[in-house]
Amino acid sequence: MTATMVKTTYREALREAIREALQRDERVFLMGEDVGAYGGCFGVSLGLLEDFGPERIRDTPLSESAFVGAGIGAAIGGLRPIVEVMTVNFSLLALDQIMNTAASLQHMSGGQYAVPLVIRMTTGAGRQLAAQHSHSLEGWYAHIPGLRIVTPATLEDARGMLWTALEDPDPVLVFEHGSLYNLAGEIAADAGPVDLDHAAVRRPGDDLTLITYGGTLGRTLEAAEELAGAGVSAEVVDLRTLRPLDDATYLGSVTRTHRAVIVDEGWRSGSLSAELSARITEQAFYDLDAPVERVCTEEVPIPYAQHLEEEALPQVRDIVAAAHRTLGEQP
């Protein structure tokens, strides 16, 4: 294998993915607030307007419900819309369309209307944006049957998930953690679509399994490195897709290591981490050698002040401490 590697960033990888989709399929168009002239709130679609024109790089008014719903209608009408909701916080204004229409239409029409729609949005905290711009609600969306929820955490996934999502006949929500856009690194020049069905083991290990996704993958890998220094071999599983969950991968890992720590930037109560914990208990109870540990965001609207925000969010030290607890050790 002599793949040529090129430097890129998470943001550029997303942009290239959109560009490729627009080139490959004329039914694809991008729609959302400030995706055109402004270049996207996070700069993802910068330059696309010039290349593809205002019909396919379509600025919308601040009407989340209407333009998400319009995306659904356009998908039913034969197009392949990529709808950008600026952030997950604003997606609440479109929740009716996402849940009552996009997720339900296929089923309540008895299979007559599929909704091949992709909705992208930024998620997560960590940038001192305070309570209304720091939600991590992807786990919440993962509650809803009929949706597929994906969370690219690597450059490859940022580059490759979109096309696969567009190929999906059902609605796919792509959650891009705000802290990842500047993530830089190398990627194969011919990097392309990736599968959306499987979780990935980002670091193999024997002693315990760290399960995470999206914005907390980096910190979790850091924690694993730190644990290695203490003689603890931690396996890191990146869920990648939050719905449907790839049970086989993380349960397989836990069954082997007998210990699980779930790292989730969502709040703990009624969360994705709760779901994972429940599934581990349901399906791997007799292989557990310690209670499942969860490292989640403190149950508080995210505060502005940096030290408070940091304290609220899962940090490397929290992950390391949780890992040690599963081993029955003091860190």
Partner: protein
Amino acid sequence: MSDFTMPSLGADMERGTVLEWLVAPGDVVHKGDPMAVVDTSKAAVEVETFADGVVVDLVVRVGSEVPVGTVLAHLGPVGAAAPAPAPEPAPEPEPTPEPAEVAAQEPAATTGHQPVVHSPLARRRARELGVDLASVAGTGPGGEITREDVEAAAPAAPPTPSTVPEAAPATTPAARGAGRPRVTPYARKLAREMGVDPAAVTPHDGETVRASDVRAAAIAAPAPAAQAPPPPAPPPGAPPPTGAPRPTAAATRAQTMRETIARLMARSKREIPHYYLTTTVDLTDALAWMREQNAGLPIAERLVPAALLLRATALATARHPALNGFWVDDAFVPGSGVHLGVAVSLRGGGLVAPAIHDADRLTVTETMAAMRDLVTRARAGRLRGSEMADPTLTVTNLGEQGVESVYGVIYPPQVALVGFGRVVERPWSVDGLLGVRPLTTLTLAADHRATDGFTGGRFLATIDDLLQHPEEL
């Protein structure tokens, strides 16, 4: 003639009360006309007839609550009804009488010997304190037995001596089981598989029995017949209770380990039809090669013979997978890799046999490093759970203790155990000449359910052959 029935006006409506009749016998009604007002418990709704006709009679009195579908009135064909001027006037719409809703209070007395206990806390306390709930009089609502009742019924002193301070808050782990450690689900499963009583296992953190503790308790000498390091006396100066597993209450620990070994080995001999094979291996070339390797190496990097023996065993195991794995549910389950269990004697008594994972993929030097690391950590009580859990074949090197050969007892559910005896110098014939050679006796104990002697023989021959070509190890 048709029936006018109590309609269902919603999925949650099962009964309705007639509040008012809007028609009287003799009235001519048409489809869609309101007939009565019905209380659905949510609202009063006018209900319509779906048929034309003459009201013959009203069956249900005002104020009556009836199930959906009950006939409320009969309709006859138009023109067929007698004029019947105002017969039996419909009962006046009077306020619905209050139903005699004196919900009989549940008698508080408990019946017979069935104790009323819903509180898990009370149940747990009863268990902890050795209290028979059937003998406790409940003072709670409805005769419910409360925690206080249980504690009042308890003998003055707790039945088991406990070091737990009385005042420990209920949330501290120490308070959970009145001195009895918790056992993780996996540890419990493992204990069952290994025939270990989890209650008899000492947790290394003093609190929770984990898989590693069960392993430590269970993986005793795979060859107890030959293995007999006398349980040493407790070392002077009892170590702190939360320290490494090694010296904690050595006498108790040795006793526990003894019992575990007894149970496990009895199970092995009861269930596993062993067969034994033995062969003598000339180590001349292997040891010469080793010395050559060691020359000039710092001590820390030098090899010992055991590393070569392990390496040869690992390679041979990879080539004979039938010996590498487990006998589970009447079938052989191959191991997921060659994970060699290495019997390590613990100072202070007992043995553990943690695994060198994927031993067939290590070089001799790596094998040596892995073995050193494993032994060091085993004796420091820092083994990892996975190392304790999944050896696929165990190697014992009792030669270190001076014996010449070891006919081991297989550690269930594994299917084979390899033993190396002491390296001894003996007369040996080579190419027709007699010489003095360093020899070791290599033995195999194998499960006849999983393999036959033929397989075992080839396996030993492979080890022998590998040791004759040490440079290829």
